[in-house]
């Protein structure tokens, strides 16, 4: 089922037995390095190494990973094209005229858009590493370790559970509408979508009421079990994560001056 794709992949990934704090440290560390890196080199190295880790260690099928990555990359590419032609400075490289406007790409704008592209790509890869290697359930137990408020964790858990119920309901309603010609034409689509939203809201409300009864029937007294996991952190993996992050930081210092058009 496609609506469960990310969750399915994360639950069966090759790194699921690894301590989730370590995975979050690696992912968040890499994101920060990407965002602060002054040159496009380090983020691209991070993107490449994350791809290797995700496909090699987490055993995510390469075509699935490529398909997932395509979504944010498509956004990033379009934004970078806009920046390439709209920001200025440096020598002009290329000029086009669109509807009477003259758009010019310069060396500085090329540098900037490449840097942005690399940062987004690298950070997205690191974010996908977290999403694909750490099931949500493990994130909850990290939240607990971080002493986040219990109410916040309880709510997140309920929300996580209900996302899938709502996706299921929405798909069911959508199918029922499509089967009766609901989305044929723009006007009908707007009508159908508004009905979908309306009935989803009412169903959500009903579900909430029913859940309260279900909780009451099991003596709800404000307590919620937070799953705990015991995966000992091996020194070797901690060292590997540490040296990876340190290596990336050093690289980004070394290449701090590296640009496409100096």
């Amino acid at each position: 089922m496609d609506e469960h794709l990310l969750d399915d992949l994360a639950l069966n990934n090759g790194l699921k037995e690894v301590d989730s704090r370590l995975k979050l440290l690696l992912g968040l560390g890499a994101i920060l390095i990407c965002v602060f890196s002054p040159s496009p080199v380090t983020p691209l190295i991070i993107a490449a190494s994350m791809a290797l880790i995700i496909v090699g260690l987490a055993e995510i099928p390469p075509q699935e990973y490529a398909r997932l990555l395509l979504i944010p990359v498509a956004f990033a590419v379009t934004s970078c094209i806009v920046i390439l032609f709209l920001s200025g400075g440096g020598e002009p490289l290329y000029t086009v005229s669109v509807l009477g406007f003259t758009l010019t790409a310069t060396t500085a704008s090329a540098n900037l858009s490449l840097l942005l592209m690399a940062r987004t790509f690298g950070a997205m890869s690191a974010l996908f590493f977290i999403a694909l290697s750490t099931p949500m359930i493990q994130v909850f137990s990290v939240m607990k370790d971080l002493r986040l408020p219990q109410e916040f964790i309880d709510l997140s858990m309920l929300i996580y559970r209900f996302i899938f119920i709502f996706i299921g309901e929405a798909i069911a309603i959508h199918n029922a509408q499509v089967m009766r010609n609901g989305y044929a034409g723009f006007r009908k689509s707007v009508d159908a979508l508004s009905m979908l939203c309306g009935s989803l809201f009412i169903r959500a409300w009903g579900r909430g009421e029913e859940m309260l009864i279900a909780m009451d029937a099991r003596c709800y007294d404000g307590k919620f079990e937070t799953g705990t996991e015991e995966h000992p952190v091996s020194l070797l993996s901690l060292a590997a994560v540490g040296s990876y992050l340190a290596g990336c930081s050093i690289l980004s210092l070394l290449f701090s001056g590296a640009v496409l058009f100096p």
């Binding site: 359930i137 899938f164 119920i165 859940m211 909780m215 099991r218 003596c219 007294d221 079990e225």
Partner: protein, 394 residues
């Protein structure tokens, strides 16, 4: 299993939903402890309303609900106590399972009963084991099948160790095999001494499964009695918008056509088949097959497999979680995993030897069923364990 002291009593209960029509109208009945009760009625008869009163979710406008002789009171502490004793399994398991993992959901009740964490873990493992889902602790509910979700919902209730279990439409939206397995699980829970109440409009299910049937229609109780007494009354069935269970209907139709069947309505296919055989007069004189019954908790799987091969037993069935786990680990090929006793009886009548692996209180249930079948039909079906030791019950 059944005792005479009532587990649950409704005394003149009336209820109307706010701004709604009367949903229950002077409902009185009493259900004996340790029995299997089916609440049968058409859609909108008030079955769910009635069940929701068993653990104080709904409060009757008039009348009393008594659990083990004590009238329900509706303050917080009393409700907690009653909800611990009366477990409620919802029709739609999706509504009942709200935690992100199976473990967390099953632990919900015990945690809210303030059990220490060690006991919570123990209760969860025990509950998951008894529904046959050990090892599913970390799975999120949206990765489970319908039958598995139902089992998780049941485990969530069992973890609080209630002695009355209430199931609203336990088999709705399950495939037939899964539904039969869930009903076997209910039997297993009943054999552990729990009173089990289900609501259903599946007449065949109610007829073959229940000790007691409460027939409800338009908010009033039409009849309470044994399944045979309820389902053989066409007038009653009509009024309750129900149909007569197929086995019974066949029995009644054949009798109307002057085919001489027995006086006792058949409890299931084995009885019906036998009565027909007798009536047509080709009642064969072949010797009945042997039914071996082994206790999954006292014999090793390896042993069972070897001995079954030695005795060239052709059909093997397993009842209950311990037996199924044993058969799984010892790689014993199972022919029957649900409706086991009836299927083995049919084979036995055909002269084939069968083996039933089971455990606990269900051993007695197997012996009891086979014995009453033999008595009723005058067929001697030998029952023993693999050593030839015969029945522990008379």
């Amino acid at each position: 299993m059944k005792t005479d002291n009532p587990a649950l009593e409704f005394d003149g209960v009336e209820y109307a939903y706010p701004n709604g029509p009367v949903s229950l109208n002077v409902v009185s009945f009493s259900l004996s402890s340790g029995s299997k009760i089916a609440l049968v009625g058409p859609n909108g008869a008030g079955k769910t309303t009635l069940l929701l009163m068993c653990n104080g979710i709904l409060r009757p406008d008039r009348g009393k609900v008594r659990v083990h002789g004590r009238p329900l009171s509706y303050d917080r502490a009393a409700l907690r106590e009653i909800r611990k004793r009366v477990g409620f399994v919802f029709q739609n398991s999706e509504n009942q399972i709200f935690a992100p993992t199976v473990y967390q959901d099953v632990a919900f009740g015990p945690v809210n009963l303030d059990l220490p964490s060690g006991e919570v873990r123990e209760a969860v493992h025990r509950a998951l084991f008894s529904v046959g889902l050990s090892g599913f602790e970390k799975r999120p509910p949206h990765h489970l099948s319908g039958g598995e979700k139902k089992r998780v919902a049941i485990a969530g209730v069992l973890a609080m160790d209630p002695d009355i279990l209430v199931f609203d439409e336990p088999t709705s939206s399950l495939d037939p095999a899964t539904a039969a397995e869930i009903m076997d699980l209910l039997d297993e829970l009943n054999s552990q001494g729990k009173t089990v109440i289900i609501s259903t409009h599946d007449v065949q299910l109610a007829y073959s499964w229940a000790d007691q049937v409460v027939l409800i229609s338009e908010g009033t109780i039409l009849h309470q009695g044994t399944p045979a007494s309820v389902f053989t009354d066409p007038d009653l069935m009509n009024r309750a918008r129900l149909t007569i269970p197929p086995v019974l209907e066949l029995f009644m139709t054949l009798r109307e056509r002057n085919i001489r069947l027995g006086d006792v309505p058949p409890a299931g296919i084995p009885e019906m088949a036998h009565q027909l055989e007798q009536a047509i007069g080709c009642g064969s004189r072949r010797t009945a097959g042997h039914i071996f019954v082994v206790d999954a908790e006292s014999v090793s799987g390896e042993d069972i497999r070897l001995r079954a091969a030695e005795r060239s037993i052709t059909h093997i069935g397993a009842m209950g979680t311990p037996a199924k786990i044993l058969a799984g680990t010892a790689e014993i090929p199972l022919d029957f995993t649900y409706g086991v006793i009836d299927k083995c009886l049919l084979k036995a009548v055909m002269g084939e030897d069968t083996l039933i692996i089971t455990s606990g209180g269900m051993i007695e249930r197997v012996h009891h069923r086979i014995l009453s079948f033999s008595r009723e039909h005058g067929i001697e079906i030998p029952v023993s364990d693999l050593d030839g030791q015969t029945s522990p019950v008379s």
